[in-house]
């Protein structure tokens, strides 16, 4: 039996479903396009943050032959206080106190001049290898500057530097010499996470 009405109703159902689907997709896309949304529409925001992070590391890690970069100087002098640094509005201070950060002066100075002024939220982590009692090494991550959990459009920029015995790393540093048999000391990965508030 050939029933035109049934076919029409089916087709109308398909058309109605398609319209509803398009409306839903359009509504979701339209309402979720905020600066914090991870989507192809804010790729340029992420690219911009990434460029800025790379520029910051390029500036900090530049050194002429025979000189030590500002980044390396900070890492060599760094001692870990088990409290993270946070931006208090005027300084980087230890979390829960008013103690201003006493080291990482080059890093915090540049962050203050760039990230803080532009209102870019940022976290800074150090990753390095730590020796266990069996003389094996494993990577550890320490939160150095923590300004909260990043949004889903955050970008990560990292820079690795190599430390030598001859760099005279601070004796109180958490970064230990993982190879006492040679001049090689440790590798530190400085990880900067950036996102828009």
């Amino acid at each position: 039996m050939f029933d035109d009405k049934a076919q029409l109703h089916t087709l109308e159902g398909v058309a109605a479903a398609s319209i509803m689907l398009i409306v839903i997709i359009y509504a979701i896309d339209a309402t979720s396009m905020t600066p914090l949304t991870a989507s192809t529409s804010n790729v340029h925001v992420e690219a911009e943050l990434q460029s800025m992070g790379r520029d910051i590391f390029n500036i900090l890690d530049y050194a002429e032959p025979g000189y030590r970069s500002k980044l390396k100087s900070d890492i060599v002098a760094w001692t870990w206080n088990p409290k993270e640094y946070i931006w208090s509005g005027s300084n980087y201070t230890e979390k829960g106190t008013t103690n201003v950060t006493g080291n990482l002066t080059n890093i915090t100075e540049l962050f203050n001049a760039t990230l803080i002024r532009q209102g870019t939220a940022h976290n800074l982590d150090f990753i390095f290898l730590y020796p266990d009692p069996d003389n094996k090494t494993y990577p550890v991550k320490i939160k150095v500057i923590f300004n909260g959990d990043p949004s889903n459009n955050a970008v990560i920029v990292s820079r690795k530097i190599v430390l030598q015995d001859s760099d005279n790393v601070n004796t109180d540093s958490t970064i230990k010499d993982i190879d006492p048999s040679s001049n090689f000391y440790n590798i530190v990965d400085i990880k900067l996470t950036l996102w828009r508030m």
Partner: protein, 274 residues
């Protein structure tokens, strides 16, 4: 009079409507596919290129540091290369642990200077490198405490010259297979010819070379760098900052990096000690 039921017309209208919706959906999908398909791999959040450069940099730093540490106290080539190899091997073994944090891998391979000739006097130290180049600019000649060169000639003439801030020639030493000639235009009578001995070290701050009697500042240039190989070291003040330029060897090194999106193997010459 009742409505005329024309099912064919309704079918045509609905079919046209559905085709229209289909076209919209297809266009949107194509747009997304083209956008994603044309995204350059390094353009957004992929850090591979940046990581490669960083890996090349830390490898260069480590090899130079290991060379300086191994050779600064002197010693035989087997002993110094043994210390060098030990340090770079330890660095190489550690590297993958740091990269594994990101789900990637890194590896380096390198050579030491056993049975290896000194670097060419080209800009990058390789035989095919730039022939005429500037070693350092803005040098306060009187502050230069070390300016040593050891030269082996492979061509007819090799020359080191100094130019003043107006880029005018003020001093040079020219080596050929039998002689060296020192010319100082600020003192026309100061023109010296001596016997060139291949492989010997010349201290250019000493008499009769007298480099550090020049008026400052000067830039130092290498001319016909392909015609010679050997070592150089110069230390002093340039633009009121201490500087060191020194090269003994160029060690062939390669770094390999692998991430989820990119695998790359890069060869690079590393000039040591700086």
């Amino acid at each position: 009079m009742g409505l005329i039921e024309d099912h064919d017309a309704q079918f045509m209208l609905l079919a046209g409507f559905l085709i229209g919706i289909g076209l919209v959906i297809t266009t949107v999908m194509l747009n997304s596919i083209m956008f994603e398909g044309n995204m350059a791999i390094e353009s957004v959040t992929e850090n591979s290129k940046y990581d490669m450069v960083n890996l090349m940099q830390i490898t260069t730093d480590e090899i130079r540091s290991a060379y300086r540490n191994a050779t600064e106290k002197g010693g035989t080539v087997p002993n110094t290369t043994k210390n060098f190899t030990k340090q770079v091997n330890n660095f190489s073994a550690t590297l993958p642990k740091i990269y594994s944090m990101y789900g990637g891998g890194a590896r380096i391979s390198y050579e030491n200077w056993t049975n290896k000739g000194f670097a060419n006097f080209t800009e990058n130290g390789m035989p095919g490198g730039k022939d005429n180049w500037t070693l350092v600019e803005g040098v306060n000649a009187s502050s230069v405490t070390v300016f040593n060169v050891s030269i082996n000639l492979t061509g007819s003439i090799f020359k080191i010259e100094a130019r003043n801030s107006a880029d005018s020639f003020v001093w040079s030493i020219e080596f050929n297979n039998s002689n060296y000639n020192v010319t100082n235009v600020t003192n026309a009578s100061n023109y010296t010819i001596g016997t060139f001995i291949s492989g010997s070290q010349y201290n250019l701050t000493s008499h009769p070379f007298d480099f550090n009697y020049l008026s400052s500042p000067v830039s130092i240039h290498i001319i016909n760098g392909k015609n010679a190989f050997g070592k150089y070291k110069i230390q002093g003040l340039a633009n009121n900052r201490n500087f060191t330029r020194e090269r003994d060897y160029v060690l062939n090194t390669s770094v390999a990096i692998s991430t989820t999106k990119v695998k790359a193997n890069i060869s690079m010459p590393v000039s040591v000690p700086w």
